[in-house]
Assembly symmetry: C2
Homo-oligomer: 276 residues x 2
């Protein structure tokens, strides 16, 4: 990649996800990199990707990424584990700008947190089936192993806002049972929707697996990875002042603002609907 000019470093980061889950990454990026501007594209018309096959996910991801490139972003941040699991190489081949996935930073954070080497991963069916987390963990550590568990109900629970009480507790309990049996000492939240259920997941993990088991969040790990990447390449924004966040979606149902505010952890500004 060629050296970026000052104007380029002021360009926004392009973040995309299958829906609104990636807003938890935007939230973490705002905390880690408050002066960066962000264009977020949520493919809400075709959400979820997690239950779909690889070729469909790749086709949709290319559409999202090309739209962001046309808006002159300086890097593409794939805030979707499912896309990061199956499409990053294809995106890197097709696009002329850096593409950062969410799997590697999550895997690195999990390896850093484990003592026994047994890492439990909760993710969508698509991410688990791809084997992306075992591969990413193997690249960082030869002694760590991954116990993967598909947890399809956590996405609709997070989107519904059912993040506390008996139903999410029982659903989480059922999903972490295999991780408890395998005595994982780290549970990685391998889907950007899951931080909304973090309290329930942490409580169940501590009660059912062990009080010292760490819950690692791929959104936070991703934001730290993006900061390191921008600094190492001299791509961080030079201008001072807070960055702005622009939201693009492919569908605009009536509950959009309410759901988006829940993910972003605050008020939602202008939203533009785009047709991919």
């Amino acid at each position: 990649m060629s050296q970026l000019t000052a104007a380029d470093t002021d360009a926004p980061l392009g973040v995309f996800d299958s829906g609104l889950g990636g807003l938890t990454v935007v939230r973490a990026l705002r905390e880690a990199l408050p002066s960066e501007s962000i264009v977020y594209l949520g493919d809400t018309a075709r959400v979820p990707y997690g239950t779909k096959g690889a070729s469909t996910v790749i086709k949709y991801a290319l559409g999202c990424a090309r739209h962001l490139v046309a808006r002159k972003v300086k890097a593409i941040i794939v805030a979707c584990n499912t896309v990061s699991a199956v499409a990053p190489e294809r995106l890197r081949v097709e696009l002329d700008i850096p593409v950062l996935g969410v799997i590697e930073p999550g895997a690195r954070a999990a390896v850093a947190a484990t003592r026994t080497g047994r890492i439990g991963v909760l993710a969508t069916a698509g991410t688990i089936a791809s084997g992306a987390y075992p591969r990413a963990v193997a690249q960082v550590s030869t002694r760590a192993e991954v116990i993967g568990q598909a947890a399809p109900l956590l996405v609709p629970l997070a989107e519904e806002g059912w993040t506390a009480g008996e139903v999410p507790r029982l659903v989480v309990r059922r999903y972490i049972e295999p991780l408890a049996l395998a005595r994982a000492d780290v549970v990685l939240l391998g889907c950007t929707h899951y931080p909304l259920l973090r309290e329930v997941i942490e409580a169940e993990v501590r009660a059912r697996i062990g009080p010292d088991v760490a819950v690692v969040d791929s959104a936070t790990a991703m934001a730290a990875g993006v900061r390191d990447f921008l600094e190492a390449r001299g791509m961080a924004r030079k201008a001072t002042g807070a960055g702005v966040v622009q939201l693009l979606v492919t569908d605009l149902p009536r509950t959009f603002r309410e759901t988006a505010a829940r993910f972003l952890g605050g008020e939602v500004g202008e939203v533009e609907q785009v047709d991919l």
Copy 2:
């Protein structure tokens, strides 16, 4: 519509849905009309429609319906409540063949079953927001009223196969609470996914609302409506022998056959993947 020829009456019925939920309608059609052939199109790449806005749903529905028309079906059966709620008029304007939605037969069956006139409807957020059930019920009865309840978690529960036990029971209990408060005497399953949860729903409805409350299934009501329609128009298949079912999907994840068999209630034959 012009009179159909003998060849036309032998043409298959075209059934489509956002995903696999509509296979419960195929199952009901096979029971009501065993000699009819069926081409089923599940838009599994873009499932679910129920959480999406009306313009997106209409765009996707037109794509599905045109694909079936190109395959020479004799009628389009919209086996998706969300599409039936927002798109049937548009489909009727755009297409040259009959279009049958799932809302009217369901509404008629619910009106036939109610004594008090208080009809509870469980459906997706999109169907409830559209107001389609109150409109359809008002066309059949001036004294019946609809208490609508969006139940977004029932679709992923049915797709996951979590159709028995504590989790579906608690989820259903929460969704039917407003119907119990309004003392509904009929609960209409206004989404083609829900018949998979019928046992849990019936048990909860009887325990929480009342032992005589009827649970009405829109898939069964739809199949009876299609039979009446074909007979009234002389469009029923003349040839003897069992009809065949052809399955088309827009995405083919690895768990497809297992999920499809659950909905169809038996083995799944050849499946073709199509690009809309």
